[in-house]
């Protein structure tokens, strides 16, 4: 990234767009996987506390990770193929 770009026409708008999209996607994907594990792992933890069965923590974590990964594919993986 040139720090002293004289003005905004020094780089093609499409090139900028591609760059920022890639960056935003990378951080977005990471956030989705983390949230998936947190949300459903948390639900699993609460259920496990309630039912006194630790199996639900693992189920929740796996469910959350699966859902998070599915969202990553849904948001960022699909339109590249079209």
């Amino acid at each position: 990234m040139p720090s002293d770009a004289p003005d905004d026409s020094s780089k093609a708008e499409s090139e900028r767009a591609a760059g920022r999209e890639g960056e935003a996607d990378a951080y977005g994907a990471l956030g989705l996987v983390i949230s998936g594990v947190l949300v459903w792992g948390g639900v699993g933890f609460l259920v496990a506390e309630r039912l006194d069965n630790r199996l639900f923590v693992m189920l929740g974590l796996l469910l959350g990770m699966g859902a998070g990964l599915y969202l990553v594919w849904f948001r960022y993986g699909r339109q590249r193929d079209q």
Binding site: S3, A17, A24, Y70
Partner: protein, 263 residues
């Protein structure tokens, strides 16, 4: 290297911990202001005064201060706002520039001689800025699509059978409203926290080795540790500027995402 030596010969040397970041009141017992607070106040003033001086007599042929000020502002404008958001981002350059220079100053205070404490290693400062960024990009999204439309686009992307929404909507919500500001906060805070701790360890450890442990081994190892602290100080300076940049860039990316049509 010195840390392993210290671990073995650890008697008498108290290695720095989280307590390093807790300061007593700066003006004696009973007063309220601490060193990190002073750094925040003086740092903000320094940034404000510098940009005021740079902009005061804006001329076609810029003077030295104006040139530096414009170059710095231009960096945020071109490399952050335009790169991350595009043309609509020009509206948000003032906010992004403020965040960047505020953070850069408070980060750099960690290696500034005599000051030598990164105020941003206290979590309140990054947290507050992250919350402002979070409110900002959500407000932009809500303003553009309406309250219902914004959350509908965020939590219920079209093309998924409806039962799956139960699974996915909470994840999208948490990822946008909680994880984003949280990661902004933690990334900055603990980069500064860890960096400062390493510097303190090397400098205090080197001092201890030379003056307390002493002997040929102690003086040799202490000298290496102190020389290492110089290298690490330079490295910290790099990390501090980089983290200010990353925080601002991510804020800009989130704003850009809120301005963009859902793909």
């Amino acid at each position: 290297m010195s840390s392993s030596v210290l671990a073995v010969e650890g008697e008498g040397f108290v290695s720095p911990g989280p307590g390093t970041f807790v300061y007593p009141p700066a003006f004696g017992e009973g007063t309220f202001v601490t060193k990190p607070m002073l750094i925040v106040i003086l740092g903000s003033l320094a940034v404000a005064v510098f940009f005021f001086l740079a902009a005061r007599r804006a001329a076609m042929v810029p003077g030295k201060t104006q040139f530096v000020g414009e170059s710095l502002y231009g960096f945020v404008r071109n490399s952050i706002a335009l790169d991350a958001i595009g043309k609509p981002g020009l509206k948000y350059v003032p906010y992004l520039a403020t965040v960047f220079f505020f953070l850069a100053t408070l980060n750099i205070s960690g290696i500034l001689p005599l000051v030598q404490f990164p105020a941003t290693s206290r979590i309140a400062i990054p947290l507050f800025l992250a919350v402002i960024s979070c409110i900002l990009f959500n407000a932009i999204g809500i303003k553009r699509e309406g309250l219902g439309g914004y959350f509908k686009n965020m939590m219920f992307p079209s093309g998924i059978p409806w039962p799956v929404y139960i699974l996915l909507a909470p994840i999208e919500f948490v990822s946008t409203i909680i994880i984003r500001p949280l990661t902004l906060t933690l990334r900055l805070t603990f980069n500064m926290f860890a960096g400062h701790l390493v510097l303190v360890l090397f400098i205090l450890g080197g001092e201890y080795l030379i003056f307390e442990y002493s002997g040929v081994v102690g003086i040799a190892a202490g000298t290496v540790a102190l020389l290492g602290s110089l290298v690490l100080t330079a490295f910290e300076g790099f990390v501090q500027l980089l983290q200010a940049y990353v925080f601002t860039l991510l804020s800009a990316l989130y704003i850009g995402g809120a301005l963009q049509d859902e793909h």
